[in-house]
Subunit: 281 residues, 2 copies
């Protein structure tokens, strides 16, 4: 099977390396608007063929995997489906699913498309961040699976299982709401924390020295790519705002209790937050 | 040298194990209000002697190391210095330094006291969380070092160096301000994030499945001990509120830009937050 990776960074690149490691593709092709990324991807063995012309890449491929910013997926996906052949499959790995599913809901080739989201990643980006084991024991969420051709879906599920991934099926809206709280919000608090600390601490040396205090872990996600994350926040705006408001309410509650020397309330706030221990070891 | 550890949890326990590993103490004693912790500490080899009577422990020891909640240090430290002998040294490892230093500023035995803060820790607590290498390559901050007897200070510095720690000297107020931004604020955002997500996601199973998305890292500090952290926030109230307000301003700014579809502003916010990459690799 020949797979065209549209976007060969952390996610697409790692998926190519993983499929290669498990002998699940015969040739990996790459398309990117950034030629330098394609060259680097070939050096790293992520792809074998590079395409500067998307149409040529699409004609060449059996599978097409989109790992690019979600706003670009919105635009590109219907165009790709316009020219798709019967046996081809298009899969997107975007971190929001509602708007992407919406963009092709009425498309005559909708059945050739799989709306997927692998719950895996690091704070790094680009081909150099890719590695073959990123997805091992991680979750692959598939949305609106009933809209996809069953044979194509089965084939994708088999690949995921061979990569030792678990599969889960979710409505697109439900996916976007859960991810707003559990993933998107974490990124916002990290970016805001980083901005707050950098505003105060002009001397990076001090931050570095004191980062062992837990800051490094809490701010880690702020290193993520704005090019990927800006569109995620915009696309999932409604639910991200709901999650952010919930978070700000709790932060404000903490602030009020501290201002009012409400020590008992403060302790209860910390205890209820600490309950996350029961979920995440 | 005989060292009495008042508090034998993560920090005190690890320091005892580290000193033992490097042959820097002959006997470790332990005092705690929680007898079960003392028994467990002896089982784990953190201490050899347990004292149910503080006075007996103090009489027995050459060094006394306080690793207990900062509000308890405030109360206990002056009382310990009241009965101290000329050759004894008391060291506290509290995470705030201003109020603790203030509590003994005019004490006649002030020179027998070292106000220290090791920048190391994990989200776990208690004797079972202690390990000998916690402090390796970490920073030990000493405040108001000019108030401490130079011989006692030198002896403590030698111990820190043998544990492969770096030493840094800071004014207590400066310490508390830096830590408010770089450490205390991170803990607040983690606790608030945890509360927000637990409010929305009643099903821990969903959180666990999606936690690979970065949440686990961002929320890690919420597992920290409320008994230790409540008093830190209270003692460092003024600077913690300053840091929290700075953070809330940035969060609010993000929210406004998202509400107003200010994509350019959003990207700039993410880019400026991402600058933390230059400091923390």
């Amino acid at each position: 099977m020949k797979v065209l990776f549209v976007g060969t960074g952390l996610i697409g690149g790692s998926f190519s390396l993983a499929m290669q490691k498990h002998g699940l593709l015969t040739e990996a092709g790459g398309y990117s608007r950034k030629m330098v990324n394609l060259d680097r991807s070939r050096e790293l063995g992520i792809i074998h063929e590079k395409f500067s012309n998307l149409k040529e890449g699409l004609d060449w491929a059996d599978w097409i995997i989109l790992s690019i910013p979600v706003d670009v997926i919105d635009t590109m996906l219907p165009q790709i489906l316009d020219g798709i052949r019967e046996e081809q499959v298009v899969i997107d790995f975007g971190s929001t699913k509602g708007k992407i599913c919406q963009s092709v809901r009425a498309h005559e080739a909708r059945a050739r498309f799989i709306a997927a989201h692998p719950i895996a990643g690091t704070e790094y980006s680009g081909p150099d961040a890719a590695f073959a084991d990123l997805f091992t024991n991680k979750l692959m969420i598939v949305c609106e699976e009933e809209q996809t051709n069953p044979v194509a879906l089965r084939q994708f599920e088999e690949v995921c299982k061979k990569l030792e991934m678990q599969l889960e099926y979710m409505e697109a809206e439900s996916h976007d709401r859960h991810l707003a709280y559990i993933s998107h919000l974490s990124h916002i608090t990290s970016y805001a924390l980083s901005n707050a600390v950098l505003q105060k601490e002009k001397d990076g040396h001090v931050i570095l020295e004191l980062a062992g205090s837990g800051f490094a872990s809490t701010v880690r996600l702020a290193k993520s790519s704005p090019e990927m994350w800006g569109p995620i926040f915009m696309e999932n705006k409604k639910m991200v705002l709901e999650a952010l408001n919930t978070f700000l309410d709790h932060s404000q509650k903490f602030k009020n209790m501290l201002e009012n020397d409400d020590y008992q309330g403060l302790l209860e706030f910390l205890e209820s937050g600490r309950a996350i221990k029961r979920v995440i070891k």
